[in-house]
């Protein structure tokens, strides 16, 4: 805690009357994040210290968070002003990590859609208050008791009568394509970001490494740049170009169990042209229920694809001959797995279609 500004150290001293076990966390952007434990209730909490110029918008983040009532928006437990520059607010501590962590575990189809529906529910509560989030991405959505909670409200803006605000400069990868040129943002921008998170949850590949999006020629040009800032700006330009051309997402990267109708619905959530994109969060929620009802609950377990239906578990295991084919195994009532007879080893997509 020694490297925190003095005013924050003094605030922590004051907080230590009621809290202990203070612990710094460097993941908190736009301020400082400190974890602690309530001495009376044992509740684990997170204290977000934020700085801002004095003025009407200074306490926007805690104000906006506390105004929204939703089981999928992180609740504010307390908020204080500690100096002309600094303030803090307290939320529950989320031990389960964020949605990036969840995506890394390759959740099953239905788990992924359920999390997407939870996020969508949080976004609908934000839109209900005539606000837009502008920075929806897996790292800004934490998990609390298994439910996704929209946590970072530093980019939230109140919509005026036109329904348009300026675009956030955060997270170029998640920025809606139309906002690059216009610099403007509306509710459909949140829908695009929601679609990107859903795409990732369902197993779609989205690299956070800007160099991944370089074409061979662009890579040559990129490597010729020496200044780090110029390199970063070059990569931002490449990502912008990919997003505007609708080439950021690779729908072929989905696991084979993501069916055609699900892909079609997802495309209309993340369409680069807002006139072709879904308009309301209600449409996204409806699409997610349709996708949920149309797909079997496949999941990955290492290299093995698994489907549990009632008392049967089907596993599609890589063939031992390393031929890039899979073989089906079946277990009933938790018993031993047996090779399913009369099924040749085949490509994963072929076998998935048969079960």
């Amino acid at each position: 805690m020694d490297d925190l500004p003095e005013v924050l150290q003094a605030a922590i001293d004051a907080l230590s009357e009621h809290y202990d076990s203070f612990e710094r966390n460097d993941r908190g952007a736009n301020g400082y994040l400190v974890f602690a434990r309530n001495k009376v209730t044992d509740a684990q909490i997170a204290i977000k210290f934020y700085a801002g110029a004095p003025g009407e918008t200074r306490h926007d983040e805690p104000k906006q968070l506390s105004a929204i009532r939703s089981g999928n928006v992180l609740p504010i437990l307390d908020a204080r002003n500690i100096s002309d520059e600094w303030g803090y607010f307290i939320t529950p501590r989320c031990f389960e990590g964020d949605v990036d962590d969840l995506i890394a575990t390759q959740p099953s189809v239905l788990s992924a859609i359920d999390v997407a529906l939870g996020i969508c529910n949080g976004v609908s509560a934000v839109h209900k208050m005539k606000m837009v989030h502008r920075d929806l991405k897996p790292g800004n959505i934490v998990l609390l008791h298994g439910a996704p909670q929209i946590a970072d409200f530093g980019s939230v803006r109140q919509l005026n009568e036109t329904g348009i605000v300026s675009a956030s400069q955060h997270s170029v990868l998640f920025r809606p394509p139309e906002s690059f040129a216009s610099g403007q943002y509306n509710e459909q921008g949140d829908i695009y970001q929601l679609g990107l998170v859903t795409y990732q949850l369902l197993g779609g590949a989205l690299s956070y490494d800007g160099e991944h999006y370089l074409t061979p020629q662009q890579r040559k040009n990129y490597l010729a740049i020496t200044d780090q800032v110029d390199k970063s700006m070059f990569l931002d330009g490449v990502i912008r170009d990919s997003a505007e051309r609708g080439r950021l997402l690779d729908f072929k990267s989905f696991p084979p169990w993501i069916n055609g109708s699900a892909k079609r619905l997802l495309r209309s959530i993340v369409h680069p042209d807002p006139t072709q994109r879904m308009v309301t969060v209600a449409d996204v929620g409806a699409a997610l229920t349709q996708i949920r009802a149309s797909m079997a609950n496949w999941s990955w377990d290492g290299d093995t694809a698994r489907l549990i239906t009632g008392d049967r578990t089907i596993e599609l295991r890589p063939s031992p001959d390393e031929s890039a084919t899979y073989e089906p195994y079946l277990s009933k009532n938790g018993g031993a797995f047996r090779r399913v007879p009369n099924f040749e080893a085949a490509a994963l997509s072929v076998l998935v279609a048969k079960f």
């Binding site: 359920d114 969508c120 609908s124 209900k128 309301t280 209600a282 409806a286 229920t289 949920r292």
Partner: protein, 167 residues
């Protein structure tokens, strides 16, 4: 002119009801906008249509779609559907919900999916819910060519619920 348009959209066999509806619409033209969510359950699907009474007296369809419930005995499935319903209510902000009524018993009784979806709607609705009988649905001539045929009963449920509210 505005009243005539409303009359054309929702013609009621009950003249008194229609007259009251028209009177209220004239008031609403200058005061507020009313949003009504019409719902029909069919199998494992919930069809919905949102109509808005605008301040110039016209009625427009602002949203229409369907929600689908999965396994009716799966907790996760019902929670997912409940989330979708919450999203629908947050996003459309209805001030009245009209549901095409289905019998809870008898030969024509609703299925398990419909009854569970109905329960979730009732428990989560932010406003009052009007169950619209088949007779009221049939009496409503509201139609919208731009909507699929399977959405027309939900549209009629919304119109009939609005008409009753205005009566």
């Amino acid at each position: 002119m505005q009243v005539l348009r409303v009359q054309a959209i929702c013609h009621s066999h009950n003249d008194d009801l229609l007259a009251s509806y028209q009177r209220c619409c004239v008031l609403i033209i200058t005061e507020t906008v009313m949003r009504v969510l019409g719902i029909e359950f069919a199998g494992s699907k919930l069809y919905y249509v949102v109509i808005e009474l605008q301040d110039d007296g016209s009625l427009i369809v602002s949203n229409a779609n369907k929600l689908v419930i999965g396994e009716t005995r799966s907790r996760d499935s019902l929670i997912a559907f409940q989330n979708a319903v919450s999203i629908l209510f947050n996003s459309t902000k209805p001030e009245l919900v009209g549901i095409k009524a289905k019998p809870e018993s008898g030969q024509m009784m609703a299925g398990a999916a419909a009854l569970k979806m109905e329960g979730i709607i009732l428990a989560n609705s932010p406003c009052s819910v009007d169950f619209v009988s088949g007779a009221r649905i049939n009496a409503c001539t509201a139609a919208d060519d731009k909507l699929h045929a399977y959405l027309q009963p939900a549209l009629k449920a919304a119109h009939a619920a609005l008409a009753k509210r205005m009566a």
